[in-house]
Subunit: 289 residues, 2 copies
């Protein structure tokens, strides 16, 4: 695995890989890798022959500068994990390499109005801008995003479609601990009691799945039942429980065709998110979570 | 010359050209071609071996829907001119091919605050969005824009730099009638008297050049002298006479290093624009107009 810091080195390495007939897969990250990130690389390996990962903590997507400066870093461990996962090229630019008096931004309307976007002004614009840059730098055939950040993944699908980026987006499933908790670097902040309490989040999604299978399509009823499950875990607060259309992530009253059911809640001071994608087709129910 | 309407056909034709070892030059237009457009193709031909032109009247960049629907069209003449100019691939998409429930936009701050941008909210965002799409569809090595629309050209340079588009932008000089009037499809709206009057615009730029050569660097003095020249042509009104920094197109009090001097004025009901790029370097003065 090569580790490079400059855009020029990325381009020359990828030019070389392309000259060897390789296809390029890309997994963008902010580092502090866990098994979730590695699962994205594995998915990319199943589709392409040359793996690029970026590690860049993107200032533009932080609402609070303190969160940006305190974002956890462990470059040595990250490099080991990336290498072991089969990454060929690890791109670790510094701030100056990525932003030199940047005045350009990319935005996707509507899809960022609800869910996490409602309380994070500017966050997704920062994500779209850096992802556009990375796509233009790497020019991958395939880029893999995690379903865990469903609003990010679906909005990027829309951005790619709207702006005709020549890249295929894959949304890879959520990696979970054996007891069902979605993997996150934040989980380590949970004390023992809240680690146990937090299981109600994935349980609430299973509850929603059961209701959909039983024929319930009223979003309000599903949300109400999920709320009861989550309150059983004594959350510090529930940020949102939402049923949205997949295509534009806007809230729906009735679950039809493709939808997303998403949850965000605090356990202690730790904010956890989880979601499932729902496909309703001629009475059959498929839930991906 | 091939004429194609779909993104897929563009991509397959360009893939073929690339397989033949060709380099791709691109000139985006809204059609109704004149010699100015052809000069952009000629410049592109001097840099690359396969020429792509697009003709697409981009609804997103019109503030007034009436201007959009009444935008002049002459597809048959355009196709002849493009063919004679040596265009290899003419891309003429319809509205649905380009915009399918589009929610994504690209914006460049600051550079669009002054000059034409001041009175055309949303115009440049529409330009950046469609140009981003066209760059992603065509993936050219080189794209050529005219200096005539200097704010567009400089902002797109900045967008390409900020978002790392793998394309080299060339700004080609303004084509002029023998008497100095900048070529524009709007010139045909001028009656005989205003056609003559309008010469004061290019004269005002020459006046500015003379002053710079004589050592004048105070923007206010240059603007004041240009205003006197333009008023001599009885304009219906002067929209702006501005001296701006090239790098961010913001107004300056003193001309230093690289600057743009730009004019917009109405003759009758026809709005005309013109400009020159100024390079001041160790006392030498270069004016490109």
């Amino acid at each position: 695995m090569k580790i490079v810091n400059s855009i020029e080195e990325v381009r020359s390495n990828i030019r070389q890989a392309r000259a060897e007939g390789k296809t390029v897969g890309f997994v963008p990250t902010m580092g502090f890798l866990h098994e979730g990130h590695i699962s994205l690389v594995n998915r990319s390996k199943s589709e392409t022959s040359y793996q690029v990962m970026s590690i860049f903590v993107n200032r533009l997507q932080f609402n609070d500068l303190k969160d940006f400066t305190s974002y956890p870093k462990d470059m040595e461990r990250d490099a080991d994990m990336a290498k072991n996962a089969g990454v060929d090229l690890l791109f670790v630019p510094d701030e100056n390499e990525m932003y030199n008096n940047n005045l350009t931004s990319v935005n996707v309307e509507r899809l960022t109005d609800h869910l996490c976007g409602a309380h994070r002004p500017g966050h997704f614009q920062g994500v779209f801008t850096v992802v556009s840059k990375l796509f233009n730098i790497i020019q991958p055939d395939v880029a893999v995003f995690g379903q865990k950040d469903i609003q990010q993944a679906v909005s990027i699908e829309k951005m790619v479609d709207d702006l005709n980026f020549p890249v295929r987006i894959i949304i890879a499933p959520i990696m979970r601990e054996v007891d069902g908790l979605a993997m996150s670097s934040r989980n380590k902040h949970l004390d023992a009691a809240n680690r146990q309490n937090a299981l109600v989040i994935s349980k609430s999604l299973r509850k929603a799945e059961q209701m959909l299978i039983a024929g319930e399509t009223h979003a309000g009823s599903v949300i109400s039942a999920m709320k009861d499950v989550i309150l059983g875990g004594n959350p510090a607060s529930i940020d949102y429980i939402s049923v949205v259309r997949y295509s534009d992530l806007s809230p729906v009253d009735t679950v039809t065709q493709k939808a997303v059911i998403a949850v965000a809640a605090f356990f202690g001071t730790t904010r956890l998110i989880d979601n499932m994608i729902v496909n309703l087709d001629k009475g059959s129910v498929e839930c991906i979570y």
